[in-house]
């Protein structure tokens, strides 16, 4: 966030995302892919709204799902309220209702949460979210109990520009439209006085008070606007799935958006988009392959926190800076050298985890590349463990040279432009 990226580069990223988002569905023509892409776009809006707090204002929230969930409930109620009179155009506008709900929730709850920053904010946001979640059973007419509320986005008649929102691909275009509108507005916000002063408050709240700003008001406004966009994301989710349950506003949802935003990178505008894409893909793809996906997910998160605290966006921007400076060539051999032991280590770890999961699930044997592995013998365990240890040892072997080269490249990069 130090030097603002030059405008052409920003334009390039926006254009690239737009092209990818438009081309992918027609390239693969798979319903599953389209629904994964819709989910990514929704989560991207949610994570971007979260980063308005975490990355831009320095507020760590453990309860952001409240705004997302309320936006979703508002939208599904509006949809059901419209019933047969819901024209496709009205349905397309419903996410704005979700946004309004998020905004109003922000206006009310923000009064309590934004008094203080830091730990106080984190704890109060958590407390309020838990309170909200705990009170949902008391209002079954609003939150629909365990089953939540279902809706039908095609209840009305007619079409809008030939769209009825029936096929998944049509709802994808709708989600994409709102995602780009929201992301565009959130980006624009970073270029306004409020957006910049939020950065100042994040960096040094004390000093911000001595340049005329009431830090509480800055936090409050950022939270309200963030609630608006989280509400839109919730509304999109309601239209996409046509079902809304209280799970959407629980701590797990708040946790996932934090993880997406953090692993994507809070210091770059597009970091949360990257994180949303990455983690949604992991959930849907890896989640389909193995029961242990949550464990992999946790390991991935730990890895990111330990080795790439700036998130994937900062890793990418570092590498692209190195490529641009022509320094990547010195690093490439080191990367290549490290790739093999890293792959080995992963393979060994995955083997151990999968066997352990299979054993815990009560299986006697697991299949690996067509052959059956007997889990009650020592050999496969020893084999996987030695692959893991071998991989780690190999990594240790090459890591010294790599880190030397890396530091050298970095210092050249910094020295190169005084």
């Amino acid at each position: 966030m130090t030097a603002p990226s030059s405008l052409p580069r920003q334009v390039l990223i926006w254009a690239a995302i737009f092209v990818i988002a438009c081309v992918l569905p027609s390239l693969f023509r798979s319903g599953f892919l389209v629904s994964v892409l819709s989910q990514i776009a929704i989560m991207a809006v949610f994570a971007l709204s979260y980063n308005m707090l975490l990355g831009q204002t320095g507020l760590l929230s453990f309860g952001h799902a409240v705004y997302y969930g309320l936006g979703a409930f508002a939208t599904i109620h509006l949809l059901n309220g419209l019933g047969k009179s819901a024209t496709p155009l009205l349905v397309a506008l419903l996410p704005l209702g979700g946004g309004a709900a998020g905004l109003v929730a922000g206006l009310i709850l923000g009064r309590m949460t934004t008094k203080k920053a830091g730990t106080t904010f984190a704890m109060i946001s958590l407390g309020i979210a838990e309170l909200m979640f705990a009170t949902t059973p008391i209002f079954p007419s609003v939150f629909g109990g365990d089953g939540g509320f279902a809706g039908n986005r095609m209840a009305g008649k007619g079409s809008f520009l030939g769209l009825t929102w029936g096929p998944q691909i049509e709802i994808y275009w709708l989600v994409l439209f709102w995602a780009f509108v929201s992301a565009g507005l959130m980006f624009a916000l970073t270029q306004t006085p409020l957006g910049r002063v939020a950065n100042a408050v994040r960096d040094n709240p004390e000093r911000a008070e001595f340049i005329g700003y009431d830090t509480r008001q800055v936090r409050y406004r950022m939270l309200v606007l963030s609630g608006l966009f989280a509400g839109i994301a919730g509304g999109l989710s309601a239209l996409n799935y046509e079902i809304v349950t209280v799970d959407m506003l629980n701590a797990h949802t708040s946790g996932s958006v934090l993880l997406m935003t953090y692993t994507g990178g809070i210091g770059h505008f597009f970091g949360p988009v990257l994180g949303a894409a990455m983690i949604t893909l992991m959930q849907t793809l890896v989640g389909g392959l193995t029961h242990a996906w949550l464990l992999y997910f946790g390991l991935f998160f730990l890895f990111m926190v330990a080795f790439a605290p700036g998130g994937m966006a900062s890793v990418l921007s570092r590498q692209s800076a190195l490529v641009k400076a022509g320094l990547w060539r010195c690093l490439l051999p080191h990367y290549a050298l490290a790739a093999a032991p890293a792959a080995l280590a992963c393979l060994g770890a995955v083997g151990l985890i999968e066997m352990a999961y299979a054993l815990l699930a009560g299986h006697d044997a697991a299949s690996f590349m067509g052959t059956s592995i007997r889990l009650h013998t020592l050999l496969p365990w020893l084999g996987a463990a030695s692959v893991l240890i071998g991989g780690i040892a190999g990594l240790k072997w090459v890591i010294g040279g790599m880190s030397d080269a890396w530091h050298q490249a970095l210092s050249q990069l910094q020295g190169g432009k005084p």
Binding site: N204, R207, F210, G212
Partner: protein
């Protein structure tokens, strides 16, 4: 000095931290347009006095009036909006923002942009020009896009002053602006302070006697939470009480005429 209301009027000011009283009854008037230095030994309470004036800390008792208006009990940002701005002894800047963004943030409120999220920063010519003007004043135009956190110490001190003056306040409080600077850096800082506080009221805590006697119209000597003398530099030099309490430990070259 002038018949108009003083820029700052402090009376009966006291501050205790727990049982220990650090500011023990200060009365001080500072006229509009005056350059006033506050000197005193380490731990005398100079920074604490600044914290009280700028509302970083609340006074235990006593009142402060800014340009005739009582400001006791206001928040720091409210006092800032009334035209008082201060710097910090320990550099207090926005470390991940660039030099330019530090200064532009510091001018936004005073230009009336407040919490706006409907203006685009890049088209706000007045904010840009004022920030760039201050940036040239403090000599950091070559560091425009450098993150404040990686500036050199002297550059950070200059930025600290820049943020303080950028909002156009007419009462400026500087807490040891030249502390830790080399001779040449100090000379530059003094010239800078002289330039940017033209036609403004300046209150400055300073240990460097060269700076103090070169810049100040009047000097207050703060010892153990009390002002033991307030007078012109010449009179302060000649004051036996001051020599005994303070200057005796720091010999001053040159003689009072």
């Amino acid at each position: 000095m002038t018949a108009s209301v003083p820029a700052l009027c402090i009376s009966g000011l006291r501050k205790s931290f727990g049982a220990s009283e650090i500011i023990r009854g200060i009365d001080l008037d500072i006229a509009k347009g005056e350059r006033h230095a506050i000197i005193g030994p380490n731990g005398a309470g100079k920074s604490t006095l600044f914290h009280l004036i700028s509302a970083r800390l609340a006074a235990t008792s006593g009142t402060i009036a800014l340009k005739g208006e009582p400001v006791t009990g206001l928040k720091p940002f409210e006092i800032n909006r009334k035209g008082l701005s201060r710097s910090f002894q320990i550099t207090n800047i926005f470390h991940s923002l660039s030099v330019f963004e530090n200064l532009r943030s510091a001018v936004l409120w005073s230009l009336g942009y407040k919490y706006s999220f409907w203006h685009r920063l890049s088209v706000l010519r007045d904010a840009k020009e004022r920030a760039e003007h201050v940036m040239c004043d403090i000599g950091l135009q070559n560091r425009r896009d450098t993150a404040a956190g990686i500036l050199s110490y002297a550059e950070q001190r200059a930025l600290e002053i820049g943020i303080t003056i950028a909002g156009g306040a007419d009462v400026i409080l500087l807490d040891e602006p030249t502390a830790g600077m080399s001779h040449s850096e100090t000379d530059e800082a003094v010239a800078l302070i002289r330039r940017v506080t033209e036609n403004k009221t300046l209150v400055m805590v300073e240990h460097d006697m060269g700076v103090v006697f070169g810049l100040a119209d009047r000097i207050s000597v703060l010892v153990y939470g009390q002002v033991i003398a307030t007078d012109t530099p010449q009179a302060i030099r000649a004051n036996p009480l001051v020599q005994e309490a303070y200057l005796g430990t720091t010999p001053v070259s040159g003689n009072a005429s």
